[in-house]
Amino acid sequence: MADLEEGFALTAVPLGSGPDGPLGVEQSDKTDQFLVTDSGRTVILYKVSDQKPLGSWSVKQGQIITCPAVCNFQTGEYIIVHDNKVLRIWNNEDVNLDKVFKATLSAEVYRIHSIQGTEPLVLFKEGAVRGLEALLAEPQQKIETVISDEEVIKWTKFFMVFRHPVLIFITEKHGNYFVYVQKFNSRILSKYTLLLGQEEKCVIQSFSTSVGRKFISLMSLSSDGCVYETLIPIHPSEPEKNQRLVQSQLLKSVVSGSARNGVALAILDQDHIAVLGAPLPASKECLSVWNTKFQTLQTSKELPQGTSGQLWYYGENLFMLHGKFLTVVPFKCEVSSLAGALGKLKHSQDPGIHATPHFVNWETSQGCGLGSQNSEQSKRILRRRKVEVSVQPEVPASTQLLATIQKDSEKHIEVELRKFLATKRTPDFHTIIGDVIIGLLGRCKAEPSFYPRNCLMQLVQTHVLSYSLCPGLMEFALEKTDVQILQLCLQQFPDIPESVTCACLKVFLSIGDDTLQDTDINMESVSDYMDPVQDGEMEGQTAFLQNGFSPEEDNCDSCAQKLKEKPQATADESTSCPVTTKRAALFRNAVLHSAYSETFLLPHLKDIPAQHSTLFLQYLYFLYLKCSENATMTLPGTHPPTLSQIMDWICLLLDANFTVVVMIPEAKRLLLSLYKFVKSQISICSELNKIEVSFRELQKLNQEKNNRELYSIEVLELF
């Protein structure tokens, strides 16, 4: 659970700031010390844990600080800008700001950024950026204009991505927002247009960012009270082009839509954000911590004296203006888990309560997890619904994608699809994917030349699809005999009808080996036991050692004798994989894993030509022999078919095709070995039954021995 501790006011005297609040709170080079810049003339250095100021500096009467003081972490000096163009650098020993280093620049400064591990950066109001050293070397150098007229920088942040400094700033022009990402290792400036995805009147009021592996996540708090997330690629594909960024909604109605000021947002960690603002139009302003992963409100703190809509977050402290005082709220946040999000984190040690085993609750399992959210959560959803009524539904990216599918080229669809898949997954992600596939298939039917194979593969591999979501896909792949897609579908769809499974099997069995050579197939499930070079001697043994039970010589009837006449041939047959290519075998493994119901599968199996079913039987028998090679009765490799799956399929095939198979000469040997195997199984079962009976007798004897003594005197020592 996130936990906001009791806050405390930093300044004993109110900041002479007016309604705007302080200009900035920045870290200094010592932990626990922060530079607070008043919007007037003063910079104060605070030690937070002691709640007292360590130093204070002011500019002359008539001058005004325009950019908050920052600390140069490399030198330990402090930097401010006053009157837009005058830069001052000083350190702790200096008393009077008038007498410290001064440099007058040629353009107006927007902000100075400084973070640990790199030199400070100066961002000018026209969008140009300079390193501090380079600027100080020649203060009057010409500063170019980067952003257009009337564009105003709204927000900016400087951070390190993989040890390289990156500056991001957002500008606004006539209600449009542009994101600039300046990377200093490659000196590339990327410009993005931020698509708001809702009605125009929404004004973004606060931003915050965090850095992920591939993306910079930009969160924005809009005037409609919702939090949106935008993912900015760290390595853009076409840096020079003006690209567009799409916002996705993360949280709804975290603050009241009508609150025009006093709203701010800060990302605390991967899953938590802090929001400053009034949750309801009439209520007091609040500091609240939300879990974005589970969309739950974790904790909240009321700020009855009002706040200024500024929020800074460093380390474990949140800084904000409360009334006229700068307030620090220490904050703790545990790693988010479902239990924590729902407020049900397990108590560490409670002897009275024991963990109960997992059980299936039939009444709630149908809700697919939605029902399992606790009442607090559902109440909140209700509240959100109410708000939703007034908000127009946003135009989802998926509709755009669906439109693209209908007309654009295959290549373009692929690009769009990749973009779509990169965005955050919404709860209805799987239905959208299903719609996309149906859209693609519809177009395939209309245009015979159109076959977006890569797109389909990519979509199937999202792991969210099922047969019923895209009913036409497998039929279409069957039509095209695209074994690769069929294999993927068989592996990933949980609900394939038996007729389709059987049709796949038929395709796999009938497809030519040369066609297979050209296709690229995932073979990891068979690679371990399809080694064509086998040790003949060892295999010869396994053919007769089944389940650890070896039928006696005289048990073998004449058929078995015949088999033995050609031991070499038998060994060959049972050891080498009967399927010529490894790939064909692989398809069958995909088939073997699929779920089925015997009654529905049997009629379809009857349609398989006899030669094919013999081949399949041979392959299954081969798998069985492979299984019985080791003690655990399993096949090597990842996701191997289990012994019972293999046996079930053998039984099914024989049930369906026995009358045909029995007539085929080449199947005779196989049937004989199967017959022999079943016979040995029957004798094992009868032996087991015998053992069980004798074991029970033994148990009875044992009990009698124990219970015979109805009376005894024993010695017992109690400790």
């Binding site: 309560i353 079962c685 109805l710 009376y711 005894s712 005197i713 024993e714 010695v715 017992l716 109690l718």
Partner: protein, 685 residues
């Protein structure tokens, strides 16, 4: 703590009767259970499943149906054709009414509780009106051609479903006329069986009727159209019982010992269409399940294997405490064994007879775990059979071994025993006063000169025993206005105090000399399961069904310091999680600080001088501390010395300071005396 010679007794050949019916009362959270010998037991599910009341059985009174009506009134009906109402306060049978329809197979109380319906052998369904003090015959429903084995009311009380042989009838409960008939298929797995017996029916408010039958089917019918809607084949054997809870969940029990839970589940997550799905199978019984009940949070089942099984539904249990665990109740929560310590005699109580055994002896000594050679084996001295069809309610042997007393519902027996070397002579004391009959508890004083008898209607009497007879039956002054029957008695070894406890009214302590109430122990929420008064100190030790143990000083009329300490610190969580009640408490004859108590699965010697265990210490330490130094042993030692070596235990007592007697009843021995279960094949094709 010391070494004991333990007389490990396994010759108490006790076999509980199979369970025939269970009836759950939602209002009081109590469960009534009837057994094949006619015994009816009441379990309080709120009080840790304690069996708080019982009505003794009767040979001719095989109950076939049991139900609660009009709030908390309990009725039973059986093959003798009588409907019986039980008096739950006085613990007697209030009255028996003959229904004049031959053996009664089924009974159901109307949803309002004001009417009672019985199904008889002759095919008649009879409606009785429940009046405040009796029941009155009202009307016959349309007569059917064969016996009515099951009955169920529509929740609105307008219709009644009756299961017969091969068909289910639907009656209009106002007019009593049969308005529908649903024929059940005789076919069973393709083979036509002779008859299909409808063992159970349940009527739901939407008009659905669920039936269970001898062909192993659970069928769901639409009573309005008389059509079969769904058929679940759940067993190869009979499905013998059904119970419904809250219209969305029911439970059936089969002759193979399996219990199936069915739930009304939506077909898909979005649609409102629902269907009955078999959700959970449970196999807690070795033999057939004859009766099931469904409380809001648990499935309850009982059958031929004599276990009462309470299986909580995990999704309905809110707090995951010990109540969420499976309970299996096999043995009665009262004492069936009494002991004459001086003569080393054990008296065993069976349903219709008593057995007296003398323990053997040994001269050898040994170390922990040894079995000593016997110099004299145990002797079966006496087999005392009571006359009449009634079960024995209680029995007792005097501490000197000279007297045996026992009681049935209508008679009280007192015997004088004389021992001359190896010969025993038995003499019945005749002309026992009539008011002693139907005693619920009998107790002899420590010096065997007085006999205390707690009868029903709350009376408590003392008899002075003399050679060859008795005098002075005197009654204790009853508590004003109570008819609460006393179930448990304890007398102080000095003979001055008598403690008595009813099923709920707390513990009263009487002064024996003045026959007056001395004090009442403050009432506690949970029923008392065992009582005893310590020698010398006259401290009353009380065990409750929630596993709390209190020590109350009778002379000081307050809880003792030790008891307060225990309550302050609280018992060890494992102690509180035991699921059988303490049924007997006794004391070490030489060490006043030691208390012996036992439940079915352990016995415990509490040494009050040692520190109490807290939740971090090991409560059960069955292994001897072999290589630990004395310091560690002393540091880890705590007051509860527990042994789980002997189980299931029916009785443990201290014969003298070095000798224990433990009466065990292994479950295998009970199973060996039950009829064989339906055999299921394990291997093969």
């Amino acid at each position: 703590m010391g070494e004991f010679n333990v007389h490990r007794v396994r010759f108490f050949n006790y076999v509980p009767s199979g369970i025939r019916c269970v009836a759950y009362n939602n209002q009081s959270n109590r469960l009534a259970v009837s057994r094949t010998d006619g015994t009816v037991e009441i379990y309080n599910l709120s009080a840790n499943y304690f069996q708080e009341k019982f009505f003794p059985g009767h040979e001719s009174r095989a109950t076939e149906a049991l139900c609660w009506a009009k709030g908390q009134r309990l009725f039973s009906a059986g093959l003798n054709g009588e409907i019986i109402e039980y008096d739950l306060q006085a613990l007697t049978i209030k009255y028996a009414v003959d229904a004049f329809g031959g053996p009664i197979w089924s009974m159901a109380a109307s949803p309002s509780g004001s009417q009672l319906l019985v199904g008889c052998e002759d095919g008649s369904v009879k409606l009785f009106q429940i009046t405040p003090d009796k029941i009155q015959f009202e009307r016959n429903f349309d007569r059917q051609k064969s016996r009515i084995l099951s009955l169920s009311w529509h929740p609105a009380g307008t219709h009644v479903a009756a299961g017969s042989i091969d068909y289910i009838s639907v009656f209009d409960s106002k007019s009593g006329s049969a308005i529908g008939k649903m024929l059940v298929d005789r076919q069973y797995m393709g083979v036509s069986k002779r008859k299909c017996i409808i063992w159970g029916v349940a009527f739901l408010s939407d008009g659905t009727v669920i039936s269970v039958d001898s062909a192993g089917k659970v069928q769901i019918w639409d009573s309005a159209t008389g059509t079969l809607m769904k058929n679940h084949l759940v067993s190869n054997a009979d499905v013998q019982s059904i119970a419904v809870s809250q219209e969305d969940s029911f439970v059936v029990g089969t002759a193979e010992g399996t219990v199936f839970h069915f739930q009304l589940v939506s077909v898909t997550s979005s649609s409102s269409e629902k269907q009955w799905v078999r959700t959970k199978p449970f196999q807690h019984h070795t033999h057939g399940v004859r009766a099931v009940a469904h409380s809001p949070t648990a499935l309850i089942s009982g059958g031929t294997d004599t276990h009462l099984v309470i299986r909580p539904l995990m999704e309905k249990v809110e707090v995951k405490n010990y109540d969420a665990a499976l309970r299996k109740i096999t043995f009665p929560h009262r004492r069936l064994v009494s002991c004459a310590k001086k003569k080393q005699l054990l008296l065993f109580q069976f349903a219709h007879h008593l057995e007296l055994w003398r323990l053997g002896s040994t001269v050898a000594t040994g170390k922990n775990g040894d079995t000593l050679p016997l110099s004299k084996n145990a002797d079966h001295l006496l087999h005392l059979k009571t006359k009449g069809p009634e079960n024995i309610i209680c029995s007792c042997i005097s501490p000197c071994g000279g007297w045996i007393a026992c009681s049935t519902a209508s008679r009280f027996f007192l015997y004088r025993l004389n021992y001359e070397h190896d010969n025993i002579s038995l003499q019945r004391v005749s002309k026992m006063p009539v008011f002693l009959r139907s005693a619920l508890q009998i107790l002899f004083s420590e010096d065997s000169t007085k006999l205390f008898v707690a009868s029903n209607q709350g009376s408590l009497r003392v008899i002075r025993l003399q050679e060859g007879g008795f005098t002075h039956p005197r009654a204790f002054q009853p508590q004003s206005g109570t008819v609460q029957s006393m179930c448990l008695l304890a007398v102080s070894p000095d003979g001055n105090w008598l403690a008595a406890s009813g099923s709920s009214a707390g513990v009263h302590v009487y002064n024996v000399k003045q026959l007056k109430l001395h004090c009442t122990v403050p009432a506690y929420n949970f029923p008392v399961t065992a009582l005893a008064i310590a020698p010398n100190t006259n401290n009353l030790v009380i065990a409750h069904s929630d596993q709390q143990v209190f020590e109350y000083s009778i002379p000081d009329k307050q809880y003792t310091e030790w008891s307060r300490t225990v309550q302050k610190q609280g018992f060890h969580h494992l102690w509180l999680q035991r699921d059988t009640p303490i049924t007997h408490i006794s004391f070490h004859p030489k060490r006043p600080m030691h208390i012996l108590l036992h439940d079915t699965y352990m016995f415990c010697l509490i040494d009050k001088s040692l520190p109490l265990p807290n939740d971090k210490t090991l409560l059960y330490n069955p292994l001897p501390p072999t290589n630990e130094s004395d310091v560690i042993r002393r540091r880890t030692a705590h007051a509860f010395k527990i042994s789980k070596k002997y189980k299931p235990l029916l009785f443990v007592d201290l014969l003298d300071e070095k000798t224990l007697v433990a009466v065990e009843r292994p479950l295998d021995d009970i199973v060996a005396q039950l009829p064989p279960p339906i055999k299921k094949k394990k291997f093969g094709t």
